[in-house]
């Protein structure tokens, strides 16, 4: 295994390794944030040692909290949810499942991984520069992100590095998307038509198509934002501003224009994270039910429909942004329409299980957990998709709970299911089943305990992105809820140590696996 390998299996493992490192970092950041929310006045020596400027004497500043939040979101969305299910599993298993020797462009594949790695390093470098990491969140709305240091600490070089990191990530993702699509179109085995491909391949295919169009737009938006910051342009910065008591000289830019460019990417990004998981869950449910996937063709078409409709619903992130109220109505109807293929997938998953003989392996546990989480996280979309109802919930913990479940946790459950399912193929050994199930039960309970109560903080109207809740009378009522959630988060994080141990222990000591341990029917389990 060489470092700059062009072998798809090695690159797949490299992506999974990068995602594993990123997810651990993201979890640690979230624990620090959860701790601070319930102990806002605590002086923690470790914080002071890690961030001498951000936590003088161990007392965390609001700007440090916001920068942790920004990096947590950016890492989780880009370097975990976008890399592991698509580039990790996809690189490893797509060629195997369609009977190809490798990806279509192996050198390009190597380049896209290392560009991704460089992008991650660039992002993390933001912690170590003057002013620290940016505090504008993973959405980086201008003018907060467009005017430099004057809008807050971290908005100087830290924000520049953030944009640079995202631009690199866009380039890497575009290279990967081209590679995936060409591989599927040109390198399928001669006897395999599009509708003979496993649904995993359909998931990767549609995801690559989404990436191809979405990341190109994010790259354009990032470039314009960087120019606003460094070249004195006024793409997104309007005139007549006084920031920090200083009159700004820009004029005519539109902050909402950036939001359009960002969410034109940002909403499809949700599907980039979840579609590979959907394909994978279909396969796992089918394998462990001893049945074919119910409604295979409908499932493939639903993936295409989600991918297509996903490009015309971005405005539901902007209902309260000040854009035309008429466009909100159109976006609302389209948003609820994109829920239909998602519901169709759920029906088909249930129908796949129906009448089967269910074998409750660890992978199957995570797959069933995925369906449960997908339902819980998905149905609140019916509230948020209505602009009238979104008014109250926008930028509250209700939204935080919604997208963590449907985008974050569901995709992570798919990753865990996939690792249990494919581990024997990747390492010739099983992940320990008992530990896997223990990890599942703790994680499943932990996830419900963390995220369901956060919806209720949303009912109270609790705004998100607050470093503490001391300022408001009405937020005193939600403190007990947040204390409970923070403890559940500790429990949930501790459960992940079981997985970590299992993952590394089983690579060396796990029970040896036969060639096709699950009795699966897809091509990757045949002899190499």
């Amino acid at each position: 295994m060489t470092i700059f390998s062009t072998d798809h299996k090695v690159i797949g493992k490299q992506y999974i390794g990068l995602a594993l490192f990123s997810v651990l970092l993201g979890i640690v950041l979230s624990l620090v944030m959860r701790f601070h929310l319930v102990h806002p006045d605590a002086k923690v020596k470790l914080f002071g040692a890690l961030w001498p400027d951000g936590a003088p004497g161990g007392q965390m500043t609001p700007e440090l909290y916001l920068s942790l939040m920004t990096i947590h979101g950016t890492i989780m969305v880009f370097f975990v949810l976008t890399t592991a299910p698509q580039s990790g599993f996809g690189n490893y298993f797509l060629p195997l499942q369609i009977g190809a020797h490798d990806m279509a462009f192996p050198v390009l594949n190597m380049l896209s991984f290392w560009t991704t790695a460089l992008s991650l390093l660039t992002l993390l470098a933001a912690f170590f520069v003057e002013g620290g990491a940016p505090l504008s969140g993973w959405t980086a709305y201008p003018p907060l992100s467009g005017l430099g240091r004057i809008t807050g600490p971290g908005q100087g070089l830290g924000q520049d590095l953030w944009i640079l990191s995202i631009a690199l990530f866009c380039v890497a993702s575009l290279m990967a998307a081209i590679n995936f699509i060409v591989t599927i179109i040109e390198l399928r085995a001669p006897d395999m038509g599009y509708f003979d491909m496993p649904l995993t391949c359909w998931g990767w295919f549609v995801t690559a198509l989404i990436s191809l169009f979405a990341f190109a737009v994010l790259l354009a938006g990032g470039i314009l934002l960087l120019l606003d910051r460094t070249a004195g342009t006024s793409f997104f910065v309007p005139g007549g501003l006084i920031v920090n008591d200083q009159i700004q000289t820009r004029s005519g830019g539109s902050p909402i224009l950036f939001q359009h460019l960002f969410w034109f990417f940002g909403h499809p990004e949700v599907y980039i994270a979840i579609l590979p998981g959907m394909g994978l869950i279909s396969t796992i449910l089918s394998t462990f039910s001893g049945k074919k996937v119910f409604g295979y063709k409908a499932m493939a078409i639903a993936l295409l429909a989600i991918g297509g409709l996903g490009f015309v619903v971005w405005g539901h992130h902007m209902f309260i942004s000040g854009m035309s109220p008429y466009s909100s109505i159109a976006f609302s109807v389209l948003t609820l329409a994109v829920g239909v293929p998602s519901a169709v997938k759920t029906f088909n998953w249930l129908a796949t299980l129906w009448g089967g003989r269910l074998r409750f392996t660890a992978a199957m546990h995570f797959a069933l957990g995925f369906v449960s989480i997908f339902i819980t996280g998905g149905i609140t979309g019916l509230i948020l998709g209505q602009p009238g109802l979104d008014i109250y919930f926008h930028d509250t913990y209700f939204v935080v709970a919604h997208f963590h479940l449907i985008m974050g946790v569901a995709a992570i459950f798919a990753i865990f299911a996939g690792l249990h399912y494919w581990f024997p193929k990747m390492y010739g050994r099983f992940l320990h089943e008992g530990l896997g199930k223990l990890h599942f039960y703790m994680t499943f309970i932990g996830v419900y305990a963390v995220f369901v109560p956060l919806h209720f903080a949303g009912f109270v109207g609790n705004p998100r992105r607050y470093p503490d809740f001391k300022e408001y009378e009405f937020l005193k009522a939600v403190m007990p809820l947040h204390i409970g959630v923070t403890h559940a988060a500790y429990f949930l994080a501790a459960a992940q140590l079981i997985f970590l141990f299992n993952y590394f222990w089983s690579q060396r000591r796990g029970a040896a696996a036969p060639a096709n341990p699950w009795g699966a029917t897809t091509r990757e389990w045949r002899d190499d």
Binding site: F105, I178, V182, L212, F213, V217, L224, A231, G252, L257
Partner: protein
């Protein structure tokens, strides 16, 4: 040209088109929103560069890769000359600079690809030539 090479270039062209479409739509929106739009002043000689792309394409078809690369390099050089005269503080010129720079990056990559892959990279080069004509018309006629 192999099928994978053609498919790869086609997808690259799709992504690049989306990239330019994003800039274009940003420009349409930004122009419509405020009263500060002034059409960027472009020198008349710029129209002559429109021919460099198709010229290079023709040379590629005839197998004269080196000459095609020279024509492409001339295009990039003239774009860099244009860029030095645009003021970023004026929004029309800023958009013009962004699109020219984005195109110059594509043209330079196209020249490099011709050097590395020869006529197999021809499809991408044809796109680069057509894209330049689009950019010129965008600013010369519409803006």
């Amino acid at each position: 040209m192999t099928n994978t090479a053609r498919a790869g270039q086609t997808l690259l062209i799709a992504a690049s088109s989306m990239f330019f479409a994003a800039f274009t739509s940003a420009m349409v929106v930004r122009r419509g929103l405020s009263g500060d739009w002034i059409a960027p002043p472009l020198p008349a000689w710029i129209w002559a560069t429109m021919l460099l792309g198709p010229l290079a394409s023709w040379l590629v078809q005839r197998g004269q890769i080196k000459s095609a690369m020279a024509a492409g390099a001339m295009l990039v050089a003239s774009q860099l000359a244009l860029l030095s005269n645009l003021r970023m503080a004026v929004i029309g010129e800023a958009f013009c600079a962004v699109l020219i720079a984005a195109h110059a990056a594509h043209a330079a990559a196209g020249v490099a690809a011709l050097g590395r892959f020869g006529a197999r990279a021809g499809l991408f080069w044809h796109f680069v030539g057509a894209l330049w004509i689009y950019v010129l018309f965008l600013f010369g006629v519409w803006a």
